[in-house]
Amino acid sequence: MQFTFFHLMPWPDLKEAPTEWPAPNAAFDGERGTELYESYISTMAYAEKCGFDWVAANEHHFSPYSLMANCNLVGAALVQRTKSVKLAMLGNLLPLLNPIRVAEEYAMLDVMSGGRLVAGFVRGIPHEYIAYNVAPSESRARMREALALITKAWTEPEPFGWESEHYQFRSVSIWPKPRQKPHPRMLMSATNDESAEFVGEHKAMLGMALIVDLDGAAKTIETYRKVARAHGFDPGPDDIVIMQQAVIADSDEEARALMAPALKYFHGILMRPQQDAQRIVLQKTRFFGTDAQREHFVGRLTTLKARTLEDQIEAGSVLCGTPETVVKQIKRLKQRLGAGHIILNMKIGNIADSVVKRGMDLFRDQVRPQVAAL
């Protein structure tokens, strides 16, 4: 199995939940911000020494729950601090961005890192569309067009132009091109059948986060596999990438005691303004193709928020416990979902960096050796 260390770069110091979107930024302190970036990037670089295969970052806007407006900047910092670990950008919010810029920045990261980029492309969550003033109802069309354009920008041997509904670029020839040929592996996320079909059609790796229940996740993964095979690609276990919030500690009790308040801070304080924005976006737009998909998305988040930690452990949404316990939980994910790659999100909310680091050491010494060969 393969493993990724993921960092969301949360702001850990809010005392009260912002009530409306967007979270006021008066509480942001620059000096503290510098400290956090240093600590977070050092932690991410340390993942290489702990045997993680990838280290991952993603993109969010206008939010204390993630200080990564552009994960490619974090990737560039990691290029300088790591030697062999793959750098997974999971990913750029494609419908919001200039696709040529994304193609260029990813190509830079791939070349600077010696071909270590994993290129994540995601549609994002609803509130990001307010931040970047893009119509949520255009998100699927923009995603599809931008992906095709980026692939062309990476692979075309001649200068070319591009004409689509949302993007017109009359003369393109990027420098650099990616080091990996024909281009870096792509990963896209899916939590429902529609997006799973999209990922399969594009022969990308499937990323899945915030799992509500393993049966539902297994069904979505099967859809992905079926569509990918119809497009000439047979996904292996390494192409099924599951993200889990994770706390690994010296006892199960300690892990639970650390994780419960961290999840409470994450869902109750950091995520609060996003829930407000999400409500506004989803009631007025066609961000999701059908009402059923919208209800599925909203229901998923509501379910997760309402669950106790015990419920989440039971449902397969989180990894929590001693190395021995976590090994069992990982084996269950492998067995139920066929997942050969787990992403560990260990910096949950305001959990202490020292706890994260202890968990990483336990992963290196006692978890990975038990599951790497699975």
């Binding site: 132009g161 004409e163 509904e165």
Partner: protein
């Protein structure tokens, strides 16, 4: 509204469908025969569009002296000289028509101003996928949006006759080495338009033309296969009109008009 007339040239009559006024623009059709696509109709709003019917298509007589693409190119050069006064004019060639347009630009460079090639033929390699006699596969290969394709008003017999006529000009040559060797002689500013889902013409053909035609642009149209004008009439129409209007400056974005 298009008007149809026959023009007498040295080797025989040439049928022309004409509409609009403005700078002259020749449109050279596919192997299926002329189709009044929305792109052609829209271009007639700003150009004097002349859609030439290749001799032998749609029941017109063949010219015994015109047997290949070079001959067709010479015939159309005569048309430009006699009917348009010999001034260079813009030329659009779709698929089969693109191969004629390329020869026209090679053999008569002074008669071609802007050249637009939409999925141009002439540089295919043998393929198990094309041509095909399976109607469903044929549709998949040609169209990304079959729902947008209007029914062909020609009889089945006429459709078959058009295909046979098209093949007769090629003499079995699907990769035109002579034409490939002479692409660097083209002086016309050239726009090569390819469907992002093109399956009939290999992408290597587009790269070959882009690399060898000195002043050329290669543009991919999203959501289009081989039948560009039918699959994505708005995108193709906008692109081609802009290229014909602004020439090399078409790569520079203009301000959106409020």
């Amino acid at each position: 509204m298009f008007e149809t007339r026959d023009v007498t040239l040295s080797t025989g009559p040439l049928r022309v469908h004409s509409a609009g006024s403005g700078r002259p623009l020749l449109h050279l059709h596919t192997a299926a025969g002329p189709r009044g696509s929305d792109v052609v109709k829209a271009l007639a709003g700003r150009h004097r569009v002349m859609a030439l019917v290749t001799p032998g298509f749609d029941g017109t007589p063949t010219h015994p002296a015109v047997t290949d693409f070079q001959g067709l190119a010479d015939l159309y050069a005569e048309f430009i000289t006699k009917e348009i006064g010999g001034e260079p004019c813009d030329v659009i060639g779709e698929s089969f028509g693109g191969r004629i347009a390329l020869w026209l630009a090679v053999r008569h460079p002074k008669l071609v101003d802007h050249l637009v090639l939409e999925g141009p033929a002439g540089f295919r390699r043998p393929s198990p996928d094309w041509p095909t006699t399976d109607p469903e596969k044929r549709q998949r290969m040609l169209y990304a949006r079959p729902d947008r394709v209007p029914p062909d008003t020609r009889s089945v017999e006429q459709q078959a006759a058009n295909s046979a006529t098209a093949a007769s000009y090629a003499h079995g040559v699907i990769f035109d080495e002579a034409l490939a060797a002479r692409l660097p002689e083209i002086t016309a500013r050239t726009l090569i338009v390819m469907g992002e889902k093109e399956r009939v013409i290999p992408i290597e053909a587009a790269h070959l033309m882009k690399a060898r035609i000195p002043h050329s642009h290669l543009t991919y149209v999203f959501g289009a296969a081989h039948a560009l004008e039918l699959d994505q009439p708005e995108l193709v129409g906008r692109l081609v009109a802009d290229f014909l209007e602004r020439g090399e400056s078409f790569i520079v974005r203009e301000a959106d008009v409020a």
